[in-house]
Symmetry: C2
Subunit: 341 residues, 2 copies
DNA sequence: GTGGGGCTTGATTGCGCTAACCTTGTGTGA
DNA sequence: TCACACAAGGTTAGCGCAATCAAGCCCCAC
């Protein structure tokens, strides 16, 4: 506990110290209404001297305005969501809004809890990852009466606005690229995450596109926990032991893909001649690998930016109709591990 | 904007719907005070049916209690702070407290702004990275009248409590280990971050310990921005070109160290025979590298846990004197790149 | 039957601030 | 010289909820 345990300061204290009314102090601190330069200076000096910090709780209650935007995401421990946050921040910094982040760990019941908790602070908007929510969560979003943007994914119906990419399409595009390059014996590796709907959709899009050409995934492997890079190595070793005839490995994220790549290079296997590889996400990390992994970028920064822009625009002018169903197009990057015919 | 734009619900609405007073509804929703099972059930049903979400702003103002803990960190884009957050979360989840994260980008003026913003919501405690703050920030922390824990670093004087490691000592320990292993021609690579005080302290500790043995750093290189892995490669290539006699490279973080390692292996250089390597942080990523980089773990999870425990304990019982200056001891991990004599 | 104790519920008040209105003082133009 | 506009600042009334205290109710022991 820090030193001086006196009663916390209020507008009243600043008012007493300067001789002007509380209202005038409030006006000065918010830069609102007409205040003479003289009193403005005096009030600011006193507030600073006393160390007064306005109580936003009281302010929010009185004005019925809260400059917070709830941002609800599944995880902070891979690079994808921090980058989305960066995009959100970039835009919100140009406004009076502030993001507040909640993490769900990919669990619907936690999402519900976090959402409830955040809504109880009456934010001005919500940015939430995914289109899949519990009925209760969806009901809360509907009833909140504030702008809602669902991000990352556009394969489904949003509550209000949405910004993302089609993961189904991303999977299918990658499948087409792989087939076009001439690979036919394909293995898949991913996370053991029934609740990661976007990974699931990519997988579905992938297998469907293969099926159209009469190709089936010949082996698959899932992991959970641990270092993704190490897991990528392990799983790849296992899979090639089990299915030595594979000529392509598709990884549900770049990190395990990088692990697989490092393993294959260690083993002296010809990549992409004997075996081709691809991941997903285009993480920065890949730039430093001995060979560049084929991947697809997920437009993370752009998703964050657009989502924040939608919130800001709606708050700015609720009447205005703006584009609020945005599907971005991820670009495939062939790198050095997906040979083109 | 979501559908029904009616006036937001209040306790009053639930009260009207059930026929009991607002106070009783409040009691039910907070599980506070004696309420008969019958009315409890009735009220909960009505609240759920209406989709009522309590207004914490009003609640906080009335009760003068806010169950938020402000967590202020420099960045989310490397793995170190998310892991600290995980530790904080683990502990706070066992309490009624909730973390709220603010990011400073290693800039003092932004730290000040973020702190001011967070304090204006009157949190119950603050966890803030580092011991270096602007005078204004320190004044705010002092005047806040709530538990403050400064984390990561213990080389300095805290405002209140602190939990971390001595980065100066971490640097010096690594220097000793390197010398003991017989290396003498040492290069250093790090981030171009005058404001990362912990990196600076490690560097100082490192050079001082070397100096004691009459050894000086022979070359150094700093980077900013871009993929750390790629930068590690580039800088290492440059440095070895410039100073081919180096026999050890010390990196200020594991990510650039990993880049350097991959580069040296590519070049067929004998690691650790010809050149030894070490990084800092013990990131999970290292597990998947072809060779394990020597490093030092920064006790990130534990720092988060302990910090949260201190906050929780102080709020629980402000009188109780608890250990609030905790210096953890990082353990050095030799991996495969720091040969021992 | 009756007084008292515990359980349950209700009424009042105010948290710190801001929206909306109101008052005062000053300068300006006809 | 006077009316009037407008800038500068004050007054009043809540925002939605929880602390506090008071009141109602029921049941049991004596």
């Amino acid at each position: 506990m820090t030193s001086d345990n006196k009663r916390p300061l209020t507008l009243r204290d600043v008012s007493d110290a300067t001789g002007v009314s509380e209202m005038t102090v409030s006006r000065v601190l918010r830069n609102r209404g007409d205040v003479s330069e003289k009193t403005r200076v005096k009030v600011l000096a006193a507030a600073k001297e006393l160390g007064y910090v306005p109580n936003k709780i009281a302010g929010a209650l009185a004005s019925n305005r809260v400059n917070l935007v709830a941002v609800i995401i599944p995880s902070l421990s891979n690079m994808v969501f921090p980058e989305v946050l960066t995009g959100i921040n970039e835009v919100l910094e140009t406004t009076a809004l502030q993001p507040v982040v909640g993490v769900t760990d990919y669990r619907a019941e936690k999402e519900e809890k976090v959402l409830y908790e955040m809504l109880s602070w009456r934010p001005s908007g919500v940015i939430i990852a995914g289109l899949e929510h519990s009925d209760a969560a969806r009901a809360m979003l509907n009833a909140a009466g504030i702008p809602i943007v669902e991000i990352m994914d556009t394969d489904g119906k949003p509550v209000d606005a949405m910004v993302g990419i089609s993961h189904r399409r991303a999977g299918s595009e990658m499948a087409k690229a792989i087939l076009k390059a001439g690979y036919r014996h394909i293995g898949f590796m991913g996370t053991k995450m029934p609740l990661d709907h976007r990974a699931r959709k990519r997988f579905e899009g992938f297998t469907e596109a293969l099926a159209k050409e009469g190709v089936e995934i010949e082996d698959r492997n899932f992991y959970s926990g641990g270092s993704a890079l190490a897991k990528g190595r392990e799983m790849t070793a296992e899979m090639l032991e089990r299915s030595p005839d594979l000529d392509f490995l598709y990884y549900s994220n770049d990190m395990i893909g990088a692990g697989g790549l490092l393993y294959l290079l260690d083993q002296g296997i010809d990549v992409p001649g004997q075996i081709g590889l691809a991941g997903f996400n285009d993480v920065e990390l890949l730039q430093g690998l001995p060979r560049k992994l084929a991947t697809m970028d997920a437009c993370r920064l752009e998703i964050g930016r657009k989502a924040a822009e939608i919130i800001a625009a709606q708050l700015d002018n609720p009447e205005e109709e703006i584009e609020n169903r945005i599907t971005l197009t991820p670009t495939i990057s062939y790198g050095d591990t997906l040979k083109r015919r």
